[in-house]
């Protein structure tokens, strides 16, 4: 079908062309041009692309706003926080001990291919990334960083590209937040790549509380060396349309990854989490626990694929996706996949989808709780296991507090 | 009957059995006692012919026939039985099905006729009754969801049905309460006969109160470091293995 006629540009694609034109005015690098050409060649992913079957950007993304104007000055960031305003790193952040932060024009890549460069959304993110921020955590250093992604009152198409290189024996705790001004129809893109060195450890927490007018398309790529450990958790309550895709490659033996998350959506939100775990080396261990609550007419999507390459023996991979639908108009699409080419492995996935247990609700209400409170109690218990891996109790409490806040806003 | 001479064996390139010699005569119950890590379970696996347990020197023979070139199932057909320390679960295969498959496989290898189904069922039921195994256990998948004690009883049931020449009991007492231990021991004792040998591997003297051994051997660091009569077991119970561990080192 390679000779097939390309469909006409969708309104979103047309606006992306205009948006990129605007970006050109202030100058773009050759790699950005090249990435944009690759994007144009494919167009926005539609449901005809298997990986995007449940999230059709071509029709669901209405239009992309113009990029924000480059602003020279900005306020200094506090402590070890990197503040990105409309995708651009603000000021010169102070690097903590053992960390270096380097800004360069766009175009750097991880040494090993981890993410799917054929994916048009990734080409688009590269095209809109003006620079690549490279963060290096020195061998055996232990440190904490924050990423603060803010989006201003004027809707903009933006992208940030960050490479985090954690050297052998180091550890990093990274907390990322995403917010946007109310009512602004941003298209916020991010491409964050991790190179996790031998015996190093990363703990990465991501909280997406974008305004319900914004759209977010983000990719996380993780390359794990031997005995490395990568734990990530994302809590998504924001954005009208969001797609968060995670690629993890087990390049070295005895590496571990835990990828967990909770997605809470309502109204007409559409939230997609897509995870691809590539076990390319032996003795790897991966765990995914995702909880999705879908209210009103919202849509939840969870796609998770575990690939085990020939030779990746003794892989132990488990994935669970549980969804709770709270209203008649809600939809959930679950696609947990296993693709196994090694025989001495333990792989499993489970997926459930359902509504709150009537008997339990009745039991709690019979003890005097009003329905909404009883429901909230059960839903909190439903989400909690996704946060089990968060060691920092204050952090876990912060996350649960956000979940409670979301539940309290139910109509 | 069982003769092990200067046996050296290794697992994953690590030598565990280092020049072990031992013999068990027909009608004899020999006990092997030893501290954790002395090579007790390794010895049972090597004799039974488990893949990955490599014999680098020495010999093992049963009734004068070398076992070393035989597959595990061929050894079983020669009359070697290993009661596992941790019996395996086989989902979807009922105990009855498994017993019949095993019994007939051995008979066939020995050129004997298969047992008729009614005879087989009768034999199994009688043996199960003796061991206090409820009939419905026989219809359940082998060992799936069984308690530790139930699994051990199932091992003895298999031994009763397969009527081995030489039975190795690998830590059969582990995980058993006192009542289960008595039932299991009675089952073993009922099988004692002038033409059958037993090799009872245990960490504790306790089991030997129920299954009286003719000889006791102390295994330490992959070798027999002392042999004696039943009194040796009592001595070990009083003094522990400290002396022998030191000896070997």
């Amino acid at each position: 079908m390679n000779a097939s006629v390309k469909p006409p540009q969708s309104p979103a694609e047309t606006s992306l062309v205009e948006s990129f034109e605007a970006l050109r005015v202030s100058g773009v690098a050759a790699v950005q041009e090249e990435a944009f050409a690759r994007f144009l060649n494919k167009g926005l992913p539609s449901r005809r692309i298997e990986a995007w079957h449940y999230t059709d950007l071509r029709t669901q993304l209405k239009r992309a706003p113009l990029p924000a104007r480059v602003e020279a000055a900005a306020e200094a960031a506090d402590g070890a926080a990197l503040v990105f305003l409309d995708g651009a790193l603000v000021g010169e952040p102070q690097a903590p001990q053992g960390v270096s932060i380097e800004r360069a024009t766009a175009g750097r890549r991880l040494a090993a291919p981890v993410i799917d460069e054929d994916d048009a959304s990734i080409a688009l993110a590269r095209a809109f990334s003006r620079e690549t921020i490279t963060i290096r955590v020195e061998a055996n250093a232990h440190c904490a960083l924050r990423f603060v992604f803010q989006n201003s009152e004027t809707a903009a198409t933006s992208a940030a590209h960050v490479i985090v290189s954690v050297e052998a024996g180091a550890s990093l705790t990274l907390i990322e937040s995403l917010d946007s001004a109310a009512g602004a129809g941003h298209l916020a893109q991010a491409l964050i790549e991790f190179d996790v060195g031998e015996q190093s450890k990363v703990n990465y927490i991501r909280i997406n509380s974008l305004d319900a007018a914004a759209s977010a398309v983000s990719t996380l790529g993780v390359d794990l060396a031997a005995r490395a450990q990568f734990d990530t958790l994302s809590l998504t309550t924001g954005a009208a349309l969001s797609r968060h895709q995670i690629f993890v490659r087990f390049a070295g033996e005895h590496a571990k990854a835990s990828i967990c998350g909770a997605t809470l959506v309502r109204g007409r939100q559409h939230a997609d989490t897509t995870i691809i775990i590539n076990h390319a080396a032996a003795h790897g261990e991966s765990r995914e626990v995702y909880k999705t609550i879908v209210d009103d007419e919202a849509t939840g999507v969870f796609q998770g694929r575990i690939n085990v390459a020939p030779g990746a023996q003794k892989t132990d991979a488990r994935m669970a996706s549980n969804a709770m639908l709270l209203a008649e108009g809600a939809s959930m699409y679950n696609k947990p996949e296993l693709e196994i080419f090694a025989d001495d492995v333990q792989c499993a996935h489970g997926a459930t989808c359902g509504e709150l247990d009537d008997d339990l609700l009745f039991y709690i209400m019979a003890r005097g709780l009003p329905r909404r409170e009883a429901e909230a109690m059960l839903l909190e218990a439903f989400v909690a296991p996704a946060f089990d891996g968060v060691e920092d109790e204050d952090m876990r409490e912060t996350l649960m507090e956000r979940v409670r806040g979301w539940l309290a806003q139910r109509k | 009957m069982l003769k092990i001479d200067n046996l050296h064996a290794r697992v994953d390139d690590k030598e565990i059995i280092k020049g072990l010699s031992l013999s068990v005569k027909a009608g004899e119950v020999a006990a092997i006692m030893g501290p954790n890590g002395s090579g007790k379970s390794t010895l049972s696996y090597v004799v039974a012919g488990r893949a990955g347990y490599e014999v680098t020197d020495g010999s093992i023979s049963l009734d004068g026939e070398s076992l070393l070139d035989m597959e595990a199932n061929e050894r079983a057909a020669k009359g070697l039985f290993l009661a596992f320390q941790y019996p395996l679960e086989i989902p979807g295969v009922t105990t009855m099905t498994f017993l019949k498959a095993a019994m007939n496989a051995q008979r066939k290898q020995r050129g004997e006729a298969e047992m008729s189904t009614p005879d087989f069922i009768k034999t199994v039921r009688t043996a199960a009754d003796k061991l206090g195994i409820k009939q419905d256990f026989l219809r359940r998948p082998l060992n799936v969801g069984f308690s530790g004690g139930e699994k051990k009883r199932m091992e003895v049931l298999q031994m009763m049905l397969l009527q081995p020449r030489l039975a190795i009991l690998d830590e059969t007492d582990s995980g058993l309460d006192i009542d289960a231990l008595r039932i299991v021991a009675e089952g073993v004792n009922a099988l004692r006969s002038p033409d059958r040998g037993f090799l009872v591997i245990t960490h504790y003297q306790r089991l030997l109160d129920y299954i009286k051994p003719d000889s006791v051997h102390v295994l330490s660091s992959g070798r027999i470091v002392k042999s004696g009569g039943p009194e040796l077991a009592h001595e070990l119970e009083r003094n522990g293995y400290r002396d022998y561990v030191a000896d070997a080192a």
Binding site: M1, E50, H53, G311, A323, L325, L326, A327, E328, G329, S331, Y333, N334, K335, P336, E337, L338, E339, I340, F341, D343, D344, V345, Q346, C347, A348, H349, G350, A351, T352, C353, G354, E355 | A48, A51, G52, E71, A72, N73, A76, A77, L82, F84, P87, L88, I90, P91, G92, V93, T94, M96, F98, K100, A101, A102, N104, A105, Q106, E114, P141
Partner: protein, 489 residues
């Protein structure tokens, strides 16, 4: 259970090349010219003396097919098929249409004898009463014999070749044909609609419990011939039928195409149980030859409280592309899919099911056991869908894969789509191997490596075997052992 022993015996007795149905029947056949065009479609229709509407139906399908492309989404890989290099119709020359058993060519009777399929009712009657099975035997493109027709007719059951049904019950065929698998459904189903030659037709009248198992036995004999059979089963209100299907083909070096369509319709309170033991020639261990099995099977639980249950044991074919599905349209209807798919050598399997919950209180259950050995690839692909109006839909899915050896692949691709909050879907899948510990344990008790493997695999697939009618279960169990031949060691 003596069957295990038989399994074990079979493993021992079978040689390296385990396919025992690979012989060729030497018989003269009448073939349509090679290739496909409107004339061929008319030729087939003409050979069957079909009514004009049927000829037109086929021609419409053919025109539609010309505009379609082969599906490419399945996880199977094969060179392009030259659809003009196939014979679309082949019938034993001695056959001019369905006839009495005494007239059937003795060579064909011998073939079915060799395959263990009793076509002589007298012989079948000698067996234990429960094993009485009515058989429709399809040889290449035509049905050569249907047994027990008279006895079935007493209870009003119609069981005959579909070509015959087009003559004797054209209205019934016209009312239901293509209503479950539309002419435009997919490339292979559309091709089948244009060129299908024969297959079985079953109609169970209201309230009737079919007095015996019905079965069709498919045999591809002729070289370079596609088999395109079409089966249509209608269970009227409150009726019940259990239907079995078996398939074999000679060993040939070239690939042969089998593109069948099966449509099941269950009206109010009716139940259809459809079991398949598919043992088409899988090709040799290097992947040469074998059947391309591209099949569309779908059941429509059209009536309230109706039930359709698919059970399949897939051991044959070079490539299997098959998703027996249920449309749960009637309120309180139920769909089931039980599958064992074994691949060895260079076989490729992409199989699974669709459970489409449309009515209220519908339920479905999927149990899939995939076993990959050799250099094969085995994919489970399934969809569970709850429509916005499918209040209280329920699904339970369990997909387990077992890998034997390091060169094979096992894949699980489920699509779980809920658009109704009251729907409850549960899905679980695992992939594992036969543990060394289990193998050693069995061998210590006297079983050989292959016997131990067969025993453990039979345990692994037990939940599905239990769904098969007794005779088929025994057959299937033997087949499993034979299919895994050479996979150990």
């Amino acid at each position: 259970m003596p069957a295990v022993q038989e399994t074990v015996d079979r493993v021992k007795s079978v040689d390296v090349d385990a396919y025992k149905y690979g012989f060729v029947t030497d018989i003269e056949s009448e073939k349509a010219p090679k290739g496909l065009n409107e004339d061929i479609v008319r030729y087939i229709s003409d050979r069957k003396s079909e009514p004009a509407w049927m000829t037109q139906w086929r021609l419409d399908a053919y025109q539609r097919w010309l505009t379609m492309t082969e599906p490419k989404w399945a996880r199977v890989d094969y060179p392009p098929i030259d659809f003009q290099d196939l014979y679309y119709y082949s019938a034993p020359k001695s056959m001019s249409g369905p006839q009495s058993l005494d007239e059937v060519d003795p060579e064909i009777l011998k073939t079915y004898d060799k395959l263990g399929i009793p076509l002589r009712e007298r012989e079948a009657l000698l067996g234990i009463p429960s094993s009485r099975v009515a058989v429709d035997a399809v040889f290449d493109s035509v049905s050569v014999a249907t047994t027990f027709k008279a006895e079935l007719a007493k209870s009003g059951v119609i069981f005959c070749p579909i070509s015959e049904a087009l003559q004797s019950h054209p209205d019934l065929v016209r009312q239901y044909l293509g209503t479950v698998v539309p002419v435009t459904d997919n490339f292979y189903a559309t091709l089948n609609s244009a060129v299908f030659s024969d297959g079985s037709f079953v109609y169970i009248p209201p309230g009737v419990r079919c007095p015996m198992e019905l079965s069709t036995y498919f045999r591809i004999n002729e070289r370079n011939t596609g088999q395109f059979e079409r089966t249509l089963i209608i269970a009227d209100k409150g009726s019940y039928v259990s239907y079995l299907e078996g398939c074999t083909a000679p060993m040939r070096d070239e690939n042969q195409l089998h593109a069948a369509v099966v449509e099941l319709i269950a009206l109010d309170d009716a139940e259809i149980k459809y079991s398949t033991v598919q043992n088409w020639y899988p090709g040799d261990s290097d992947g040469k030859g074998g059947i391309y099995n591209f099949v569309t099977k779908r059941g429509d639980c059209r009536g309230a409280r109706s039930k359709i249950s698919w059970t399949q044991v897939e051991t044959g074919s070079a490539i299997t592309w098959k998703y027996p599905s249920c449309i749960l349209r009637g309120d309180d209807s139920r769909g089931e899919f039980y599958s064992i798919a074994i691949s060895n050598g260079k076989q490729q399997v992409d199989s699974g099911t669709k459970m489409l919950h449309l009515g209220k209180n519908t339920s479905s259950r999927i149990i899939s056991k995939g076993i990959s050995a050799g250099r094969s690839n085995n994919t489970y692909r399934g969809q569970v869908f709850a429509h916005r109006k499918a209040q209280n839909a329920r699904n339970f899915t369990n997909c387990d894969s077992l890998l034997i050896g390091q060169q094979c692949g096992a894949h699980t691709i489920p699509y779980i789509e809920s658009r109704n909050a009251s729907a409850v879907f549960e899905h679980e899948a695992t992939t594992s191997k036969i543990s060394e510990d289990q193998l050693f344990y069995c061998m210590q008790r006297g079983l050989s490596g292959e016997e131990a493997t067969a025993l453990i695999v039979n345990g692994f697939v037990r939940d599905v075997l239990q769904q098969l009618p007794m005779e088929f279960a025994v057959e299937a169990q033997k087949l499993i052992a034979v299919s895994l031949e050479g996979s150990v060691g």
